[in-house]
Amino acid sequence: MSPTAEVNTGLRKTALNAVHRKMGAKMVDFGGWDMPVEYSGLIAEHMAVRTGVGVFDVSHMGDILIRGPQSLPAVQHISMNDASKLQPGQAHYSALLYPEGTFVDDVIVHKLGDNDYLLVINAGTREKDVNWVRQNVREFRCHADNLSDYYTQLAIQGPKAVDVLRKLTNVDLTPIKNYWFTYGTVCGLPNTMIARTGYTGEDGFEIYIPSDEPTSERVWYEVLGAGREFGILPCGLGARNTLRLESKMALYGHEISDTINVWEADLGRYCKMEKGNFIGREALEKAKTAGLKRILVGLEMIERGIGRDSYKVFSEAGGQIGEITSGSPAPFLKKNIALAYVPPEYSQIGTIVLVEVRSQKVKAQVVSTPFYKRPKKEK
């Protein structure tokens, strides 16, 4: 499955790897992938997405196609959101759960047609997800195919994303609502999937194009060319992380994992208990009755200091109450923010907690989330 065959040794590369290197991106090992962490600078890239437009290579994300007459009951069985509510051309946020109600992964489920659902999954969990999905849809008349290597996925994100993409496609983008998708010609490529989705908290699109290097490179440069008048910047995973954190979007291995359940992660609104049985439902029912032991909250540092991933959180009285899952300076908000798990009695907005920043305890406050919400504007 060239050109991005999954091998056991060495880092995996997307079709744009050579382009990232040629453009001077700083590269890092991200979940076994050799990915750009930044180009011109994390803050500049973050601000480009909040105020203009940026483009990300997110081809490391995986894609599983579930196809067959029983694809809907299969998707309903393996994911927590209610896929029966989806129209063709519509997508939603969901998650694959273990019987314990904890996370295999979070996913975007796209309804391509009555018998076809596309699950977009995380890079670091690809094999695990594919194996898990295949195992759990076995009793249904459907196939689960791993299409991950067939697509280069580009995320064009920011308030100007629509203006950039408009120059490259014949599709009328205006009627595409958030979390809907369509197909059309993009950069001369017919039947390209265009989804109004992203991981930045901003308006934007994700396009799925063939993963051969010449096509991937040509489209990458055409997007940059079309975006030049809007100040487009190529963006790396560094900005992707700070953008999703400001918008309180979960990251696998941080806010969600195989030891954290849906209620704790505060993702109950995407979990449709009333839709019927699904993997994890029973445990979640019990967990709900038993009550929460910890819950995800947003913190804002109110004293000098930056709370970071896995820093400990203490009560004002002195005992350790939890841990930060993701923490960083927030480039747009210009505050130091964090997500952390704490017992419910500390989750009230305004509660003061202490974050251990190296040897010092630094004051932080529980704040409402998302930290950042994009301004509403007419289409």
């Binding site: 700083k26 962490v37 930044e38 994390l42 960083s328 300076p329 190296r358």
Partner: protein, 129 residues
């Protein structure tokens, strides 16, 4: 990147520039580049003592924290206050953005540090350039 020939360097990427029996200390251009956008510098107070090889503060970028190691021992006589409000100066001019000035305890410590040529070789090996 060029490392000034009249500075000395540590393997932890600090530079020191001797000026009589005092010296200024900062981090190298290689260090700022690998950290990315710097947002916070934590420094000791004037009057505190640094011990060669021991941490004396930290520098934070959006994505990482890095400890600062003293290239030489001595008492802090001044800190660069402007870095508190404009830490990004380190990104734009690492070799010109001193963090603190110390009264050297033993000038001999400095001569044991890396020369600009040796440091240049060291970072090329470390960075695989």
């Amino acid at each position: 990147m060029a490392f000034p020939a009249d500075y000395r360097y540590t393997k932890e990427h600090e530079w020191i520039k001797v000026d009589g029996n005092q010296a200024t200390i900062g981090i190298t251009d290689y260090a700022q580049n690998s950290l990315g956008d710097i947002v916070f510098v934590e420094l000791p107070k004037v009057g505190e003592e640094l011990t060669a090889g021991k941490t004396f503060g930290s520098v934070e970028s959006v994505k990482a924290v890095s400890e600062l190691y003293a290239p030489a021992s001595g008492k802090v006589v001044a800190i660069n206050e402007s870095l508190a409000t404009a830490p990004e100066k380190i990104n734009s001019d690492a070799h010109g953005s001193w963090m603190l000035r110390i009264q050297l305890k033993d000038a001999g410590e400095v001569s044991k540090l890396l020369s600009s040529d040796d440091y240049d070789k060291y970072v090329k090996e470390e960075g695989g350039q």
